[in-house]
Symmetry: C2
Subunit: 252 residues, 2 copies
């Protein structure tokens, strides 16, 4: 996981975003993954104003700042990366797919003096050639290539969410699964109970080829039981056994 200091070394720059909902969505994704620095470059103040006025505006959006130009928005950054859907543009920059790009970004923000800008362009046209000229390199989210679609592109808020998650993503699972497996002793008790029930129900007599104890044990193991479920299953089997025992008693 990234430290708080490393998260603070990432700056998201939205250039000419038109839709206030998209600005809000980018801010929300930043908030979800712990990023704080949003800068808006827009010659037209309305989208940012409207995004900040939305009821669900995040603290990231409240702290966002407007920059008069791309050059000023990235002035303090040591690595500037443009995002692109590639398309047919003649690329004058090295291009990295997102997973590899994220490795390079994490290396930069591991340095105390590192500061990385991620530029996202307008919804319709992406980043212009002039805006791209500020970038050290470009990154792209690999998308499904269809013969019928020449320019795949992603929604701005979704693209930002995918990129930012990739930065904080760790392949190692940090969560312990909520459950532990049932113990072998419990599974053995269950197997015994089940064999008794099979016997009582005459299943064993009718299907002797299926009722070798080892076969039944394997059947129980394949249930993949959690420790909390084992006593429930034992309770059920005991109840069945009890009921079967009762019904074989001659009725009064």
């Amino acid at each position: 996981m990234l430290t708080s200091e490393q998260l603070d070394r990432v700056v998201v720059v939205l250039v000419r975003a038109r839709n206030p909902n998209n600005i809000g969505a980018v801010a929300r994704a930043m908030h979800d993954f712990g990023f704080r620095h949003l800068r808006i470059v827009n010659d037209y103040a309305v989208p940012f104003h409207n995004a900040k006025s939305a009821v669900d505006a995040s603290s990231v959006l409240e702290a966002a700042i407007e920059a008069p130009s791309v050059a000023e928005a990235i002035a303090d950054c040591t690595l500037v990366i443009g995002t692109t859907a590639v398309g047919e543009r003649d690329l004058n920059h090295p291009l990295h797919e997102l997973p590899q790009a994220a490795d390079l970004i994490r290396a930069e923000i591991a340095k105390p003096e590192g500061r990385v800008a991620l530029l996202f362009g307008s919804e319709k046209t992406g980043l212009s050639n002039d805006e791209l000229s500020h970038c050290n390199w470009l990154m792209t989210i690999p998308m499904y290539q269809r013969p019928d679609i020449r320019h795949p592109s992603m929604n701005l808020g979704q693209a930002a969410a995918v990129c930012l998650f990739e930065l904080v993503r760790t392949a190692e699972t940090t969560f312990a699964p909520a459950s532990t497996n049932a113990s072998a002793a419990d599974l053995e008790r269950l197997t015994t109970l089940l064999l008794e029930v099979l016997d009582q129900t005459e299943y064993t007599r009718r299907h002797p080829a299926n009722c070798d104890p080892a076969q039944i044990r394997r059947l129980v193991y394949r249930m993949g039981l959690e420790s909390t479920d084992a006593p429930i299953w034992m309770g059920i089997l005991r109840q069945i056994r009890w009921k079967l025992g009762q019904s074989t008693e001659p009725a009064d």
Copy 2:
């Protein structure tokens, strides 16, 4: 990358989604990453209807089907996974973080008979306990934990995009960088030209300690030049040299 057959073994199920824009955003993310099967469970038909009517509705949305219940939406699936933001809900299911969950999903859709359902609940409340009871296990997108926020949650369209990208994501870079490095011969020519310019401009005389040829060569190497940029820099230096030579000629 997933094959076309593997992509077709994933079914996204939206349960009680309220906002047509979110339904559209999920369909768009599916389209971007090559998934095709969207099923909608909603006791209220308007959001799906409005999503399908949107101008930018994707082919995924056009092909989406309505199911009367979660049970019917997932009937043909061999692995059913609920998405959750966790929160304070008492989890009765195993829980996997997204990267590990994606490994398990890829293993299932590698089987010809595998079919995986990914359930997303309503924007406000997520999946109900009854809906979760249809799931083999749950997955969550790990988010930044803040002491001041008890229930982090993601926007539905962004959560779907992050989950679906994780499924198609490959750590290996399949793209070659767009550029090749300048040759050592070019760098040597550049070094020579630069030394000549430094000499002509008397920089060498004023800063002799900085102008050892090896120092200048290292300076040029640190430019990290691409092969296509080397001739441009040589042209610039030749032009400077020419202009300097001209200006030292006595004027008429």
